[in-house]
């Protein structure tokens, strides 16, 4: 049975990824949004390099957060309107497993590209090599948490009409810990201070949300479907 679960997890994740990648516009716009937001800052601030470097961690992280929230809105919305959510609810597999497949595919399609783009944006903001590494590693640990926590909010608000701004308001506060540790590591790296404890905290956040978020998302979907 456990082996079966793993098998089902991989099969469903493959389908979810296919579904996300085939709706190209919805997939690509959050990434373009991310790039544009980060690009706006150097233009607005001017050529003060010191200021730019000290602001870079915050700018990149906030932009990544906003981009994730935009893509989060689509996570269950189409499923709900197409009636696919009802299908998930009467499937014999646990809802938490099905929720985890959706979250994983979301991270692969939206989190990974953010990480791949970010070194380029870091270079543009004049980050040093050590800071670029820190940026990649913090995003690698941080974006899964964003996807996991965001999914709970997306599931809760799935049946709310015009939920455009409700979802960000609901989940933004829960993104604050990731934001603090993510930007914290980069600032500490800039000042050549030891950061291993911060990385450990971020790892703990990943494990914690990985444990709770799929179960909570499953429960939230049940509530969300009862219209």
């Amino acid at each position: 049975m456990q082996l079966n679960y793993i098998n089902v997890f991989f099969q469903l994740t493959t389908y979810e990824i296919k579904i996300i990648l085939r709706s190209t516009v919805a997939w690509i716009t959050p990434h373009i949004f991310y790039v544009i937001i980060v690009c706006l800052f150097p233009i607005a601030i001017g050529h003060d390099q010191e200021l730019l470097v000290s602001m870079a961690p915050g700018v990149i992280w906030v932009a990544a957060l906003l981009a994730t929230i935009i893509s989060m809105g689509h996570l269950f919305q189409n499923d709900y309107h197409e009636g696919y959510l009802d299908l998930l609810l009467v499937s014999t597999y646990p809802l938490s497993l099905l929720a985890l497949t959706k979250i994983t595919s979301h991270w692969i399609c939206h989190g990974l590209p953010l990480i791949l783009i970010s070194p380029l944006l870091g270079l543009m903001l004049n980050l040093s090599v050590e800071e670029l590494y820190a940026l990649i590693f913090t995003l690698l640990l941080g974006t899964p948490v964003l996807s996991l926590i965001g999914a709970i909010g997306a599931a809760l608000t799935v049946a709310v009409k015009g939920n455009g701004l409700l979802l960000p308001m609901l989940i933004m506060p829960f993104y604050i810990p990731v934001l603090i540790f993510g930007t914290g590591i980069m600032i500490m790296t800039h000042q050549n201070m030891p950061v291993i404890a911060y990385y450990a905290m971020m790892g703990a956040l990943v494990l914690l949300s990985l444990g709770f978020a799929p179960i909570l998302t499953g429960q939230a979907l049940k509530i969300g479907a009862s219209r």
Binding site: Y15, R22, Y84, D86, L87, L89
Partner: protein, 210 residues
């Protein structure tokens, strides 16, 4: 109670919207080999009743039991034995017909031969077409393939014959008749007359009709 002898029991069920009572004091028992037709005018609460029976909605009063256990408390056992098809088809529009079927196969852990099912629902020639290019009737046929994939004893179908042509209707009728003959159970909400005479009928909205 014997495990092999399934029974769905609707006990004093009531549901109300904000201001008015949709239905109340609903009693019914469904045994293997029985088909229940839910009838009533538009807005009489047919879909709501079926969503309650599927466990998506909580009734305001009364409860639904499966083999003597409340369906929301004992959901896992119930879900293994129940399948639900609502108004919406649950088809992913940017997957092909074949991929949609495979996805359903995974969700319902079925290992049936998909080519036979494709032939039965008459979409063999369209198997590589994206579902967004299908007509409403074809989508409904693809949706009904779910009935061939699941091994559920209880079918809850909300207006299953919408958009179906004559061939589609007869396919649906054959499926239901086979299912009932194999000691299955079905709750079907529909306006149209069914080929198979329902064992019992639930009338909603119009209390005089009962």
């Amino acid at each position: 109670m014997c495990i092999h002898n399934h029974q769905l029991c609707i006990n004093d069920l009531a549901f109300k919207h904000e201001h008015y009572v949709l239905f109340s004091k609903l009693h019914q028992i469904i045994n293997p080999g029985e088909m229940i037709q839910v009838r009533g005018h538009n807005g009489s609460g047919k879909s709501t009743l079926l969503r309650i029976l599927a466990g998506f909605l909580e009734p305001h009063k009364g409860m639904v039991t499966w083999n003597g256990h409340c369906i929301t408390k004992n959901r896992e056992d119930y879900i293994e034995n129940m399948t639900y098809i609502g108004h919406l088809n649950g088809i992913k529009s940017n997957l092909t017909v074949y991929e949609n079927l495979r996805l359903k196969c995974t969700l319902f852990s079925s290992s049936k031969d998909l080519n036979i099912i494709l032939k039965k629902i008459g979409l063999e020639a369209n198997s590589q077409i994206h579902a967004q290019n299908l007509s409403a009737g074809q989508l409904r046929r693809l949706c009904l393939a779910q009935l061939m994939l699941t091994s559920a004893k209880l079918w809850i179908l909300d207006e299953p014959n919408t958009a179906l042509d004559d061939a589609g209707q007869s396919l649906l009728n054959t499926l239901v008749i086979e299912h009932i003959a194999n000691k299955g159970m079905a709750v079907i909400a529909t306006h149209q007359a069914l080929t198979l005479t329902p064992t019992k009928t639930i009338f909603l909205g119009d209390h005089h009709a009962t």
